[in-house]
């Protein structure tokens, strides 16, 4: 496929990286010389410098009917809208845009995104707010992804000292007396990711991705009664709103900006709004941070969010989650006493990749910092893999089948299971093998 990416920020860069390593022809457009030269030096893609909202620039990037897709992830929503509109006009079949401003992307927006020439809209604020609400419920989860229409979930878990998964051999994973079946699909150790085998042992400091039925995970969930949110921007506001709508009795929102506090207070009636500094420990303690189930920091400043989350945790909050926008900061997680770091850019990248792979492709999760991807595929009737035993598969070192859904039944397969046509499957595979896996399952 020929793909044109507008915007070479973190999302644009990561998309270009993943897509070019999957043998797509990628052209990246950005007006910023520094960002564009970073792409030029590090990735094997074509680069064009200039604004994505100018037709001349897009023409230089080769916009036309031979381009299969435009992905607009520039900083400004308007640039994204305009480049998608130009693309549609020039016959590009598919357009994707990131929209920050909820006025453009909400269901009751003045223009529907179809009217703007956009096929798929990702709103980072919405995506990330949903993830935060989900993570609050499960104590040791740091990342969450959904498969099979929500029937199957994958949680990313950081194995700290004393965690129940520490020193566990994967073979024993099934006989822990837990109800339901779980699968450790990917392990990240010392910055390297691998698909574990039965003899592998989970160590302290690992990050593992566990797959299981949604209902089976429910028993690990704790009821969330009180949450404190620092920052009342788009994300903070959305998290507060969904929590209070879900019936969480005590939600407090803290912001240094008095006017913003007032706005939130007017819109959310069941939420306590406090005007104060999220890094002021005394203030946090007075407001009961030591008793809360969740402490979420969502200001526009990454460093403030990280420090404030550490403060909250040290004061006794049961789970603290920090929102950061810089992807490099996600590597800090093992060194900080924070439970989870969420990044809208990672989720946006993931959402866009999911959308791109539609041919037989239902869902996919881009795991940040991990070279393995989780793909949800609909197996076609005549796919090469149909009817084969999983254990006899050649090249099965390259990927594993994590779960199968057959006639509404979800199960985690063993070696003697085989794949049928019309199954839906979750496959874990290294990024470079995604194309191969797709061929095998979809034909």
């Amino acid at each position: 496929m020929k793909i044109l990416i507008v915007g070479a920020g973190e999302v644009g860069f990561n998309l270009a990286k993943v897509l070019s390593s999957e043998e797509h022809d990628v052209v990246v457009v950005d007006i910023d010389e520094e960002k564009i030269s970073r792409v030029r030096e590090r990735l094997d893609v074509m680069t064009v410098r200039g604004s994505g909202s100018r037709l001349g620039v897009l023409e230089k990037a080769g916009v036309g009917a031979d381009v299969d897709m435009i992905i607009a992830v520039a900083n400004s929503d308007e640039t994204n809208i305009v480049s998608c509109m130009f693309g549609k006009k020039r016959g590009v079949p598919t357009t994707v845009a990131r929209m920050r401003d909820l006025r453009y992307s909400d269901k009751d927006a003045t223009f529907s995104h179809k009217e703007l020439g956009i096929d798929f809209v990702v709103s980072p604020e919405r995506v990330i707010s949903e993830a935060i609400v989900e993570l609050l419920a499960l104590p040791s989860a740091i990342q969450v992804a959904y498969f099979f229409d929500g029937n199957l979930r994958m949680y990313g878990v950081n194995v700290r000292e004393g965690h129940m998964l520490e020193n566990m051999k994967l073979k024993d994973f099934g006989n822990m007396g837990w109800k339901g079946v779980f699968l450790v699909a990917v392990v990240v150790r010392d910055g390297k990711s691998f698909i574990p085998r039965g003899d592998d042992v989970i160590l302290k400091g690992d990050k593992v991705f566990v797959l299981g039925k949604t209902a089976d995970f429910d028993r690990f969930k704790k009821e969330v009664k009180s949450v404190m949110i620092v920052g009342s921007g788009k994300v903070g506001f959305r998290v507060a709103r969904s929590l209070s709508m879900a019936g969480v009795p005590f939600v407090k929102v803290i912001d240094v900006d008095r006017e913003k506090c007032q706005k939130v207070a007017m819109e959310l009636h069941n939420v306590v709004v406090l005007n104060g500094d999220g890094t002021d420990l005394e203030f946090l303690i007075k407001e009961g941070v030591s008793e809360v189930d969740g402490f979420v920091t969502t200001t526009r400043n990454d460093e403030v969010n990280l420090l404030s989350a550490v403060l909250g945790k040290s004061a006794g909050a049961k789970k603290s989650i920090a929102l950061v926008r810089k992807i490099d900061y996600m590597n800090l997680l093992p060194y900080l006493s924070i439970d989870s770091i969420v990044n809208p850019r990672v989720d946006v990248t993931s959402a866009i990749l999911r959308f791109i792979r539609r041919r037989g492709f239902v869902n996919g999760v881009y795991l940040e910092g991990v070279d393995v991807q989780a793909l949800e595929l609909a197996v076609s009737q005549d796919a090469p893999i149909v009817g084969k035993n999983l254990s006899e598969l050649k090249g099965s070192q390259d990927f594993i089948v994590g779960a199968i859904m057959r006639d509404k039944n979800v199960f985690i397969p063993k070696g003697d299971d085989c794949i049928w046509g019309n199954d839906r499957v979750i496959v874990f595979a290294p990024t470079s093998k995604v194309g191969k896996v797709e061929k095998l399952f979809v034909g």
Binding site: K2, V27, E33, R42, L43, D44, M46
Partner: protein, 481 residues
């Protein structure tokens, strides 16, 4: 630096080089020459070394900037060392120094020769001599990126180190595809030239050899008197046209072959064309004024061939310009510094850099009067960043510095001033013939051994545009952190 990865790539490069020796071998068989065995030995040694390097190396890890520079610089040094083997084994050249000089001169498309009796040499060896031009012209590394599988973004680092021009442009999103397209354009134009030379009465062997020399802007001929030996206006014109084409940016030719002739409105190309026309005119007038040739038509014929040959850094000759008036001689020396366009097979400083330097000079003068004037340098409706302008200044400085130091060194070996200056200018710029004792009717055979090694280095510095070689002298290139 990941040395094993570098070794792995060098091994692949040597394998490719060894295989390419089968072309001269074909001609050796065809003519039943006494160079069949020497070529076979060379091929065996090169392929053997290729396997050894691949065996010692490993393809694990990512090819970064440092490794890219190392692969390219050592790749060229090794290619010349193994490319010298046919000359050594066949005994055409007396010493390894001479053979190395000849091979380096071939790969860097210089065309400076130490071979005195060209016409008596085995034809397979002569074919190899010109074939090295052709391989080096579009770039041996670019060729290996085009046809060998390369790890991840490594190919880009390699190409950036071999084709360092100031403004990089990709024809396609993938570097491999870009490299392939450039080589295809190169091959298509080469085929056209062979056909035209053949139609002009040259035999297939000589047509091929002279095509190699022209398309790569090299300059090795199969005749002692170079192109002058043919006494044919037709051959002169064909070679002039293809030297001019080879001196222009191959990206433009790519778009032109696809039917977009408008691309020749490119600022550098126009500058190149105008510069060429002025140079030809200038020398024609000088020759006419001094009554060097019988008619003004002949003045134009010889002036245009020599001027274009020197400026595109080819180095073919149809006249002994060493006997021309001093003004013309000096003008040709000046042209040695100009060179071809960025993205061409020509060497030296290149037109785009000269354009930007001139524009910057004028701008700085203007700023003396209007200190607050904002005057971006614009090329093809795009602003040239100040960083690139600064890069070009420092390239120019390094180029002149290398020129001065090498000239002092050559003088210390006992060469007269004009010979010393022009030998360095002609090798650093990848031209070939210089003036005085290294003029078109002479060759480099008499230069002392120490001088030949230095000139070989100059050729490499010129071909890889200095930075790629010099950067490896920095300790930082070898440290891990």
């Amino acid at each position: 630096m990941n040395i094993r990865l570098v070794l792995f790539f060098l091994g692949r490069l040597l394998l490719l080089l060894g295989i390419s020796m089968s072309f001269p071998l074909f001609w050796a068989f065809h003519y039943h020459g006494n160079d069949i065995l020497p070529l076979m030995y060379s091929m065996a040694v090169t392929v053997g070394a290729g396997f050894l390097f691949s065996f010692l190396g490993s393809d694990e890890g990512e090819l970064g900037r440092k490794e890219g520079f190392a692969v390219v610089a050592f790749g060229w040094l090794l290619a010349s060392a193994f490319g010298a083997l046919p000359y050594v084994f066949s005994g055409v050249l007396p010493t390894f120094t001479d053979a190395y000089f000849e091979a380096m001169s071939g790969f860097t498309t210089t065309g400076a020769s130490v071979l005195t009796h060209i016409e008596g040499s085995p034809l397979g060896i002569l074919f190899w001599r010109d074939f090295t031009h052709w391989l080096g012209g579009m770039g041996i590394i670019l060729l290996s990126v085009a046809i060998l599988p390369v790890l991840g973004v490594g190919g880009m680092q390699l190409v950036a180190a071999e084709v360092p021009g100031p403004v990089a442009e990709k024809l396609r999103p993938r570097i491999k595809e870009t490299a392939k397209l450039l080589w295809i354009v190169y091959i298509v134009l080469s085929a056209a030239e062979v056909l035209l030379l053949y139609l002009g009465g040259m035999n297939p062997f000589e047509s091929l050899c002279h095509m190699f020399g022209t398309m790569a802007t090299g300059g090795f001929s199969t005749r002692n008197a170079s192109i002058g030996a043919y006494h044919s206006v037709y051959v002169d014109v064909v070679i002039i046209i293809f030297m001019f084409i080879a001196g222009a940016n191959f990206s433009l030719h790519y778009y032109a072959l696809k039917g977009r002739l408008k691309v020749y409105k490119d600022a550098e190309f126009i500058f190149y064309a105008v510069f060429t026309a002025i140079s030809v005119l200038f020398i024609t007038v000088d020759l006419w004024y001094h009554h060097v040739y019988a008619t003004i038509g002949q003045d134009l014929r010889y002036a245009s061939f020599q001027a274009i040959s020197i400026m595109t850094t080819t180095g073919y000759a149809t006249a002994d310009f060493g006997k021309w008036p001093y003004l013309s001689q000096f003008f040709l020396l000046f042209l040695m510094f100009v060179g071809g366009c960025a993205g061409s097979t020509g060497g030296a400083i290149k037109h785009i850099r000269i354009m930007i330097l001139l524009k910057d000079g004028v701008r700085r003068l203007y700023r003396l009067i209007h200190p607050r004037a904002v005057m971006p340098i614009v090329l093809n409706k795009e602003v040239v960043s100040e960083e690139i302008v600064a890069d070009i200044h420092s390239f120019f400085l390094l180029y002149m510095l290398v020129f001065v130091i090498a000239t002092i060194y050559m003088s210390s070996l006992g060469l007269d001033t004009i010979t010393a200056i022009s030998s360095v200018a002609a090798t650093l710029g990848n031209i070939g013939p210089g003036l005085a004792r290294v003029g078109p009717a002479q060759n480099y055979a008499f230069v002392p051994m120490a001088g030949k090694w230095l000139l070989s280095v100059c050729m490499l510095l010129g071909r890889l545009e200095i930075y790629t070689v010099l950067v490896l002298l920095l300790p930082a290139s070898w440290r891990k952190v």
